[in-house]
Symmetry: C2
Subunit: 417 residues, 2 copies
């Protein structure tokens, strides 16, 4: 493969001064309803921003700019005071543009809400077809048959004798979730036992009256032997202001506390240990709980550290990286459920959606999901787990998941091949 | 660094049959106004789709699914006819959802247009401040000064004596374009001579009355010694239907034909050769033109091959890959101009925007832009060029450029490290 991007030698380029404190404001018409995952070190109040991590990152960036443009400063300084005055006014105009961008994103969100309302009758219908074996209309059957024939030109598994009576679809949502690349990795076999009771998965937006926008994923369960809750919810809250890229930025995620029934907590593994009393020499059995991998950890999302904690250096850089990665995975999964799984559940059930996810992955990342296991990236935390080491994987990602998770191989490491 | 994504062993997973003909329909509420770059092999009429390339890609995907889920078929087939009937109806409901998604995207585009109109007075004001040294209002100066102080807490280069008379900003758009990572690579020093005359860069949407939506980038030039045109335009047309991911998909791009003045064509290099007449033995000088790297090639975008040409095998797979890559770069640059450069021109001028682009790049790709030159990826086409080989680079990309260009190192190649 070859590239056609020409490159020039930047011999006498005019290089401006990169400024060095990011803002959360954003440009006009960026047109991106998808929220970005915030850097933990991103600061909502840029004027006060002077964390060490942040400075280090910016230093790195400026170093790169220096490499790219030949010099990293001096251009702005070289301009006349008159021109600088005009630039200050231009920056003032940009502030107004950013305000419009914020308004625009709010309107985008309202439009999303409007279409969710328009779609709800179809979601209700979906639910009825799945659970109560509602009788399909001739239009539904015709449209579905035509689509299935298009999707399966060679061998169509959906050819059924006409006027077959409908039947409920067993394990619909479990199958859907297990057919999403990222989620399938989170769902253990033990989890599957509980997810069989998942009756519906839907989304609500936070009311516009709330200061911060966001959405809520609602998992509705039939009564089951695992937990008392009828609904488990995961709420994602955006920041009030869009980020610099013009997207909403995640503020935090909140999950329902699961009321596990006795000894049914899927997020724990229990170990029975014998203990001997040194005095009496009698033994007793003690049950010890370890946290373990489970899809249901999704409802105990990681908490971003406060700006203060970062500034005061309470959190090490490595710890910060890990936390940031956990947060990204959590946000990415929430986004995939919102943007892909709920809207196209039946395509995940039949496997059609998976093709696209895999294709996109391939195109964007050149990453081969099913060869990851041997790549040597081992999970060096949670070492109290008995499970095999977890390789670095991308949950979702691909074209549909902009700003997805980090690829599992760092290209920089390969530069010298 | 470590990952916290648990992985399970997929021991008795329920694996559905992946279907095998993609559609251009899309889900509800995917909410992505950003268009995706189509695969060249993507088919607008899926029912007729059976190209060899396409089949090969899908074969690959299905192979992966088999690896991921343990089996690639049999699940749908194993369901009862009654359940299959319900699924056919569910597919029919999904078709309706896709129709709503198409409507939604059209409304998103209308919202984008509305905000462009709201922003136009600010763009006009920007133009006046840049070129005619319009007198800034006190509000503009106050807002700009406050923002500049926030952006530059350490050393603020925008501090000017109060009531300094404004002056025009020289080379504004040239500096802006040269401060965009992707574009700076396309702009040769010769191009810079012509881009000094770039007076305005703006966007218009194609009228809603046109069957296909899209937008037009308008480059307005002062009269210059290079070409006759006062405006150069690049038009991007989307397909009527959104793609499977729920985004618009690019259909094609069209550029203005540049009317170069004599010997001023920046997209060509001229070579003077001596030729000797075998009969008369007299020599003469012959001017030979070679195509060369130039930003102005942006106005002669690559043309996607027709479905027929691909199906009939007129185009080799490698050629197809190259063309697809060229198209992706072209679309990505158009998108970056639309989404980033026009909305935040002043931030590119001051260098502020660059930081974010670099930060995003870093986070998403783990890619070090300024170390690319030695990576050995040489341009194996355009070998008639005298310029040094062009490394594979990402134009734009990063968080702001979802579905950006391929990273310059294919991680798959590094798997065995």
């Amino acid at each position: 493969m070859s590239s056609h991007v020409p490159i020039n030698q930047h011999s006498d380029i005019t290089a401006p001064t990169p400024q060095n404190t990011p803002l959360t404001h954003a440009p006009i018409t960026a047109g991106l309803p998808r929220p970005t995952v915030p850097d933990i070190s991103e600061d909502a109040e840029p004027a006060e921003d002077s964390t060490a991590v942040h400075e280090a990152m910016l230093g790195l960036v400026q170093g790169r700019l220096a490499g790219l443009l030949g010099k990293s400063s001096g251009y702005i300084e070289s301009l006349s005071d008159g021109t600088k005055t005009s630039i200050v006014a231009l920056i003032g105009v940009q502030v107004k543009q950013n305000e419009l961008q914020n308004q625009y994103k709010r309107e985008c969100l309202e439009l999303e809400k409007k279409y969710l309302e328009l779609t709800k009758p179809l979601y209700e219908r979906r639910r009825a077809l799945i659970y109560t074996a509602a009788v399909p209309t001739p239009e539904e059957l015709d449209a579905g048959a035509a689509q299935a024939a298009k999707d399966n030109p060679e061998e169509n598994p959906f050819l059924v004798p006409p006027s077959t009576a409908p039947a409920a679809v067993p394990d619909f949502w479990l199958t859907v979730l297990r057919n999403h690349v990222g989620l399938s990795e989170l769902i253990t076999d033990r989890d599957a036992g509980a997810l069989k009771y998942l009756n519906d998965l839907r989304i609500e937006y936070l009311p516009s009256s709330e200061p911060k926008p966001g959405f809520k994923l609602i998992f509705e369960f039939a009564s089951n032997e695992f937990f008392e809750n009828e609904k488990l919810e995961k709420t994602y809250v955006y920041r009030e202001e869009v980020g610099y890229s013009g997207d909403f930025v995640y503020d935090r995620a909140i999950g329902t506390e699961i009321k596990w029934k006795d000894e049914k907590d899927l997020t724990k593994e229990f170990e029975i240990k014998k203990q001997r009393n040194k005095n009496t020499n009698r033994t007793r059995l003690v049950r010890k709980a370890h946290p373990t991998e489970s899809f249901f950890n999704f409802f105990s999302p990681p908490v971003a550290p406060s700006e203060e904690a970062i500034e005061e250096g309470d959190i090490g850089e490595e710890e910060l990286d890990e936390l940031e990665e956990k947060l990204e995975i959590d946000y990415q999964i929430g986004e995939d459920i919102k943007e892909k799984i709920i809207p196209r559940a039946v395509d995940y059930f039949t496997g059609k959606a998976l093709e696209y996810d895999m294709l996109s992955d391939d195109e964007d990342d050149y990453e081969d999901e099913d060869e990851d296991d041997g790549d040597g990236f081992e999970d060096d935390v949670d070492s109290d787990e008995d499970d095999p080491p977890a390789p670095r994987r991308s949950a979702g990602g691909g074209r549909g998941g902009r700003g997805g998770l980090p690829a599992n191989v760092n290209p920089e490491e390969c530069k010298q091949q």
